[in-house]
């Protein structure tokens, strides 16, 4: 009993430590004070000014850029990664091993090495940096994760199903669409979600490939903001909203998964 109380409070303590900073942001999103940590009375003003835009046009466009880049990068990564996984699955063992090894490089490489190497690629080819380079860079570090999440699905798949579809008169394309893809879909979806989160959360690679044409994503915006000394107050309600959304989403997924098991 004693042991149980002790271990539960240990977990509780760690969670308090992990959530204290986030809690502070959420709490202080309900006050107007410019500096995080000052309380100047309860107010929704930051929320209304976040949505009314106007003065904070640059924050809105940074958020917009982040989402667009994330969606494009995740979608392309999903297609490229799924096709690649099918190809890799059908390769001869030696070649397969080699491709899988190269595939794991972007995952194991620290952000900053990926960032510098891509920066050097773009500058030595004389490609001007902007939207396209950021998206290409994001695709290059997201696709390996898609390959890793689709590949196990191929391993679990029963090859005979595809052959059976062909024997029953399906064209290869039809069989692909009706037999292969439905079985790969869960891996593709989780790959897409993973790629999207990696992309919107990325900072280092984006910073090195974004160029200096004034393009900003949320991460580079926050970074520039923090360097200037203060955080735009509207970032507090924005972070609070992102956090609560993710919390609800994950709890819902967890609930559904728990129900399915019953």
């Amino acid at each position: 009993m004693m042991k149980r109380i002790l271990s539960n409070s240990y977990i509780g303590l760690l969670l308090v430590m992990l959530y204290a900073p986030i809690l502070i942001i959420v709490v202080f999103s309900f006050t107007e004070a410019k500096v995080l940590g000052n309380w100047s009375g309860f107010s929704f003003k930051l929320y209304t000014s976040l949505f009314n835009g106007g003065i904070h046009h640059s924050l809105a466009s940074a958020l917009w850029n982040t989402l667009i880049i994330g969606l494009i990068a995740a979608f392309v990564s999903m297609l490229l990664g799924t096709v690649a996984a099918i190809g890799i699955f059908n390769m001869r063992p030696k070649a397969r091993k080699a491709v899988q090894l190269v595939n794991s490089i972007p995952i194991l490489n620290p952000d900053i090495i990926t960032a510098i190497s891509l920066f050097l690629l773009f500058v030595s080819l004389g490609i001007s940096q902007g939207y396209t380079t950021v998206i290409l860079a994001h695709i290059s570090f997201c696709t390996p994760y898609v390959v890793l999440s689709v590949y196990p699905r191929l391993l679990q798949m029963n090859d005979n199903l595809y052959e059976a579809a062909l024997d029953l008169g399906a064209t290869p394309f039809y069989a692909l669409r009706k037999v292969l893809l439905p079985q790969l879909r869960p891996g593709m979806i989780s790959g897409f979600i993973l790629a999207f989160t990696l992309s919107i959360d990325d900072f280092v690679v984006t910073l090195f490939t974004i160029g200096n044409e004034g393009l900003e994503t949320l991460s580079t915006y926050i970074y520039a903001d923090a360097r200037k000394g203060g955080l735009t107050p509207e970032l507090r309600p924005l972070s609070a909203i992102i956090f609560i959304t993710v919390l609800i989403l994950l709890l819902a997924i967890n609930q559904r998964a728990a129900k399915k098991r019953l």
């Binding site: 240990y10 992990l18 940590g37 090495i113 090195f208 923090a226 728990a258």
Partner: protein, 266 residues
């Protein structure tokens, strides 16, 4: 009929070609470029000068050693805090454990810059000055989930029969832990170490924000050099970091591959 199947299957192997070309261009070529820039001077001639510069510059060298130290300490603290947590979670009823693990991973979904700035706010709020203390807190805070998750995963998959067998054979709880549970969880530990040590060694921006620019880590040295147009020297420094990471992953052996797999799950 048979023939069309096999020719299609044969073609299917070729589906990996677009991705192979992509990897060649966006993964391998850039790495070769780092190598090229590291061993050339501004004019493109071969030189070891960039590495000599590193060895002769006490500042870059000092930052490098300091960063390795920070990464080691952060990794050890994360392991000491994270192992018991993972162990406790693995003993819990699976439903509540799953929820708690989710809660541990959840903060990862908030942009790490915002999280770091929130940590700064927390220290301001509590009136604690920013410095080494806040640096270590911020690092552990940012990377603890990466330690807990892989260890929890391994512990949870441990065959309970082995533990019972140890108990039946007369081992006391201490012996059960040190002779059975701990050795079986080594794969989780090594992948946790990789997932904490590697990002910490290369972090950039966290240290500056947590110490108001008082402490600089190696990642920042890299960034500053590249930003100031010292591509060759910056590439040489990147190569040094890559070397360190290569050595770490070699020491970790199978932990590396596992970390790559689990990296995807967080």
């Amino acid at each position: 009929m048979k023939r069309s199947i096999s020719s299609f299957a044969g073609k299917r192997r070729n589906w990996s070609i677009p991705y192979i070309l992509f990897l060649g261009f966006f993964v391998l070529t850039p790495l070769v470029l780092i190598l090229f820039y590291a061993f050339t001077n501004g004019a493109g001639g071969f030189t070891f000068g960039n590495f000599q510069k590193f060895l002769q510059q006490p500042e870059a060298m000092h930052t490098f050693i300091f960063s390795v130290g920070v990464a080691l300490i952060t990794t050890v603290v994360c392991l000491l805090l994270g192992y018991p947590a993972a162990y406790i979670l693995s003993r819990m009823e699976s439903k509540s454990a799953k929820l708690l693990v989710l809660l541990f991973i959840l903060p990862m979904w908030v942009n790490f810059l915002i999280r770091t700035l929130a940590t700064v706010a927390l220290f301001d709020f509590l009136g604690i000055p920013l410095g080494q203390g806040s640096l270590y807190f911020g690092m552990v805070y940012n990377f603890l989930p990466f330690m807990i998750y892989p260890i929890y995963n391994t512990l949870q998959k441990t065959d309970k029969n082995l533990i019972e067998a140890a108990q039946d054979l007369g081992a006391n709880p201490r012996q059960v832990f040190f002779k059975t549970i701990l050795p079986l969880s080594v794969p989780g530990i090594t992948s946790g170490i990789m997932m904490v040590f590697m990002p910490v060694i290369s972090t950039f921006a966290i240290a500056e924000l947590l110490t108001i620019n008082n402490i600089k880590l190696f990642g920042t040295t890299l960034q500053e050099n590249i930003y100031n147009g010292m591509w060759n020297y910056g590439a040489a420094l990147s190569l040094i970091m890559l070397l360190l990471i290569g050595i770490t992953s070699m020491l970790n052996g199978q932990g590396t591959a596992k970390a790559a797999e689990e990296g995807g799950l967080i």
